[in-house]
């Protein structure tokens, strides 16, 4: 009886020492999973997930404070990738945070713009060029479609437009037909 207790206690001490040593010797600085999650997110920086940007959302997911289905611009593709990365089941997009829409960009109506620079301060990726009392304009290639500039504009001169489709960005659609016997017909 006594030998059992001593043996198990010794083993516990040995393993404890090994684990403690490994925790210090092999400690990883920072949290690489946050980087991986962040690289999956679409970087729209729109805040629809209730976090102020994609990086904070990534950190929240890593800590377990947020679910993986809160990103509307990412849509199903991002949810599936996050589910794959974290080893959880994918789930449908949480509609409370918004719908997944086609990619859009914004443009400023230059006749109305008064040069107040509020939109420049709002843009999370600095896609609006301009200065005080001078014309503001949106660099379409850099615009992520987050729409954060629209509510701050005092004269409502910013409008949304869909990204123009060209031959090189056109995609073949998924075959869908009323003759598909696999689809529900109700």
């Amino acid at each position: 009886m006594l030998t059992t207790i001593i043996a198990i206690a010794t083993l516990a001490i040995i393993f404890g020492l090994v684990l403690g040593f490994a925790a210090i010797r092999f400690k990883v600085e920072g949290d690489p999973i946050v980087d991986k999650i962040d690289s999956v997110l679409p970087q729209t920086q729109c805040g629809q997930c209730t976090f102020p940007g994609c990086r904070p959302y990534a950190e929240a997911i890593a800590k377990g404070e947020a679910d993986i289905n809160q990103c509307p611009p990412g849509g199903e593709a991002v949810i599936n990738e996050l589910a794959d990365l974290l080893g959880v089941d994918p789930k449908p997009l949480n509609e409370e945070h918004g719908e997944h829409t086609d990619k859009t960009v914004v443009y400023i109506d230059e006749d109305i713009c008064i040069g107040c620079t509020l939109c420049i301060q709002a843009c999370p990726v600095d896609a609006i060029v301009g200065a005080a009392k001078l014309m503001h304009t949106v660099i379409e290639d850099e615009c992520t479609g987050c729409d954060l500039c629209i509510p701050v504009c005092p004269v409502d001169c910013i409008y949304i437009k869909p990204v123009t489709e060209t031959i090189s960005t056109w995609k073949w659609p998924l075959p869908g037909s009323s003759l598909n016997a696999e689809k529900e017909s109700s």
């Binding site: 940007g53 600095d126 696999e182």
Partner: protein
Amino acid sequence: MMSMRLWKIFGGLKLPGFKSMSMSQATQPAPLPKTLTLPLKQHIGIDAEPVVKVGDTVLKGQMIATSGNYVSAPVHAPSSGKVTAIKKHRIPHPSGIETDCIIIETDGEERWVECKEHSNYRQLDAKTLRDIIREAGIVGLGGAGFPSFIKLDAGSSNMIDTLILNGAECEPYITCDAMLMQEQSRKVIDGLNIMRHALQAKHCIIAVEDNKRAAHTMLVNALHDHEAEYIDVIQVPTLYPAGGEKQLIKTLTGKEVPSNGLPINIGVVCHNVATAAATATAVLEGKPLISRYVTITGEGVDHPCNLDVLFGTPFSELINLCGRNSHAEQFIMGGPMMGFEISNDDVPVIKTSNCILVKSENPTPDYIMPCIRCGQCAEVCPAQLLPQQLYWYSRAKNFDKTQDYNLFDCIECGCCSYVCPSHIPLVQYFRFAKTEIWTQEQEKEKSDIARQRHEFRQFRMERKKAENEERKRQKRELLKKVNKEKDNSEDAKKAAIEAAMARVKARREAQHTAQENTDNLTDEQKHLIAEIDSRRKKAKDKS
């Protein structure tokens, strides 16, 4: 000509040919249309850039759009006339999207631009020859439209083993290459010689399917004696898709092009026979690529035939010419296996338009049933893929797995869809998967850039805040220092005040030394001035 050993390819289908219907008469040039619409992108690569303006008069063969980037090709005016517009117009593409086109109103005179011939091409080095071919706007006329000069670069080894001219034309209905080989066999061989010189190829093969006997005979007869030593005109078994580049190379040389690789990796280059003929015209006659043979065929035209068509000619004119009838409901550019449907026949003929197929709509399309895993698709796939698995994963949008099963090796030949008993549109699933993967890659790049911009913006805000803090701190320090000095020395203060007053005095004196309007003064005025001056002097001495 010696008989060569041929290898078998995996899979493939025997399809009904429908070729004799369009080969009954010799190829005629199509009549000159009133309007020519030239898209700026008729090739794989970047759009060409226009070098003419609206209102310019152009000559036949004049360059109207130039190629800036490496993978691009210039566009030339197919006939003389006036540029009436540079605007968006429909082009033959499955999406129906409009792109920029140069629209020329022809004047009927067909005045040629000055052409520079290079009959001495053997003295030119490979790079000069490639530049001539590039400037002539020559792209792969077999259907892909890849700028040909890039495929005439032998690379660092400066020579290749085998140059193959693809005259197989395995798709049903299409006969333009067959007619070209029959009617212009010498030109094809001249083109082959030019390409051989550019690539320094050791061995040359012209491959013809064995259902094109006339073409084979004409080519063999057109060979000069010494040419027969290095050129073989070989008949390959008629099978779809024997004309696929990788499949043809395997049939003729037994070597398989590595998946994700190019034929040049195994020392082989493959060009279409029409490309070779166009090269001969460009180098020997100095004329750029402005027309091609097009097959207009199908049950929707009464007189199916081949025509030599200028680029920019509308499809509708050609179909009317060949006798459009009541069956003309569906228009396909290309063949029935790899072509695409165009909804409206008001599109122009472009460099890659090899065939216009006009047919009636299928009366009772069949239901698309679930996949029964019969495996027939895998038995016919010439790329030895598993279309069934690619279908399951493409449908599930599991794009990583589709790439595990080599999705990008699929040549989209359509054999799998043809045999599927459930009538599943397999090729469309694969095309969907490919474009989705490309879009995802583009979006990933964009989102990486957006993240960098966002991080830089945050860095910039931090930096601004830090700079503000720094400035405030420095000001505070300065104020503190000034206050300290104020308390410590009264003398210093006095000295400062005196120095300030001295400065003011000096400034005032400098203002008053210059007296103006002192000419023509009366005596009274002079006396007044003297009095004022003495009074001022007294005041100054007092202070």
